[in-house]
Symmetry: C2
Amino acid sequence: MTEAESDKGRVTIIEIAKAAGVSKSTVSLVLTGRGSVKRETAERIQRAMDQLGYVYNRGAAGLRNAGSNIVGIVINDLSNPFFAELSIGIQNVLQMSGYVAFLAHTGESVSQQSQVIRMMRENGARGIILCPALDTRPEDVEGLASGDASLVLSIRRIAGSQASLVVPDNRAGAARITRHLLNLGHRRIAYVGGMGSMVVRQDRFQGFADAMADAKCAIDPGLNIESLPTKDGGVRAMGAVLALADRPTAVVCYNDVVAIGAMLAAARRGLSVGTDIAVVGFDDTEEARHVVPALTTVSVDAVGLGERSARMLLDQIADRNAAGATYVGEAKLIIRESCGIHHRALAAAG
Amino acid sequence: MTEAESDKGRVTIIEIAKAAGVSKSTVSLVLTGRGSVKRETAERIQRAMDQLGYVYNRGAAGLRNAGSNIVGIVINDLSNPFFAELSIGIQNVLQMSGYVAFLAHTGESVSQQSQVIRMMRENGARGIILCPALDTRPEDVEGLASGDASLVLSIRRIAGSQASLVVPDNRAGAARITRHLLNLGHRRIAYVGGMGSMVVRQDRFQGFADAMADAKCAIDPGLNIESLPTKDGGVRAMGAVLALADRPTAVVCYNDVVAIGAMLAAARRGLSVGTDIAVVGFDDTEEARHVVPALTTVSVDAVGLGERSARMLLDQIADRNAAGATYVGEAKLIIRESCGIHHRALAAAG
DNA sequence: CTCCAAAAATGGAACGTTCCATTATTATTA
DNA sequence: TAATAATAATGGAACGTTCCATTTTTGGAG
């Protein structure tokens, strides 16, 4: 039953020592596995711990040896499946390595973000993986990387910050999918969703512009429409697009969530996505595969990016001066149906 | 710049005391806000803390006064939007109350679940909100509630466990939505998705059976189809349903995720959901609103249940013998289009 | 001024662990 | 068997905070 406590407070290493007839130091030895203790003694101690329901106190241990196994994960929007998948990737690696994660959701609020980060540091987090809220400035994260805690920015970089970074190749990905539309004959193409202040949007839009320029195709400023990076944002933005006198024939969306909103808005007006108008996304979340028509998008491997972020942080914790790394993940074109090709087409990607 | 550390280790209360020309006790006083310290002194100390970049060490503090502000949240599947919303609700109230959350994803693995729970306890978590993995037995969580840590089970109860509980009214909700289908004239109705061993499925199926019995409508055992509670599970299960010689005219799904998978499978075979076959879900996730046709489902208010779970846990932490509560949230019928009513119909719910 | 109460500040023990320098035990070799 | 080496086990200081019992300071009232 592991019950014998109840008398008072938690059971400590000292009571275990008493029960097993050894000193607290010996118990500590088996706990950490550091010294050499006789097998028989170790078993006796183990038995005592089970019997008394001992639970290790990492707070106390960390006090002495300045360590913890805590890592903070700060996510701007957990309800976005992309970030949920990212978190799962991160946790996969952390759990394998014996770390445990504080995972916090900030809802794009910078003040909540700094609050949770402070809490994490106060609790001794060894490092933090941060998907920064929208208006995060470099000074908000500066000083985090210094001193004891490590920092890895994930998915969203912060202009002007030197912190380590894991991102997909937004520019190349956007260029690739735009080129695909151009190859299909589209010339009037809109870029839709995301706020202009978002660095990720700037990167992706740059890729879009690259491809358009390569094809000597002018960008109509009226076809660059901002919105919140949510499904509702997509619905709204697409509404604006469809209200235009001279509609585009294709729409490149900031991400899958926006794209799905856009498809929805098109469907509501009786347009058939894929034939009447092409819509493409970015991220390749699970939903992109499942929506009808299936969404042509850019795969960035959310879980993989999460795992990569975690590994980078772990490296940095292990070796403080390994800081400052940048990983840019590949962005693969995934051709499905929403761009108007209902059969597997040969992608002229690159 | 708040930089002055770098010399060695973290800066402690003692260095602050030295810098401000007071004793460590006084610093502690302003930190906890407990004693009475002169305004001027407090400000001087505050300034020293800012200057030296002090960060409070909760591990050390907790060691002395046996407290922490940590709460664990254990989620079986973060990629399910329902649980993502639940987590957000939980974090909302925790953050308001000055707590910080360990949020862990178990991927339905009982062993990972016990591992993360152990880690949480070792780190001094004051309580745990648990959405148990599928095959969790009472003994897996027993002893958690005892002693120092509180426990609240959320969404999934564990047969045979006495722990506090927050769940939606699965039985009533399932009965309500089934009755709606019966009122629309359906008689041959399938129940699809979820594994038979899941308590939640048993509860919902019971509600389904209640409604069918009330309508003197027999349940065909061949129309009770299990599957994993995922989108793919829904696709697969619906495939089995549609392969039947004598197809049902309506399908009650275990949850929204399964229902969306089922709709997808139906659409792939050229069936029009809402006219050729009715499909309904459970949970009312955001996706249910956005899918086409919009999903008729049961709203349980995921965010609200999360908030309720957190509040219950907090109550229990504050007052140990407040344990053993149960909250059953209302389950509202949400009529949309997937059940074949394209206009707002008068629900004969009850 | 002196006295006294209230307010403000203090020093040291305690929390549960790890680490270090020792000491006790056992095994190995001459 | 003695000497040595290796292995096991130990006691106490230290980690950064809080709390308690005290001491010092402040400010009125007599």
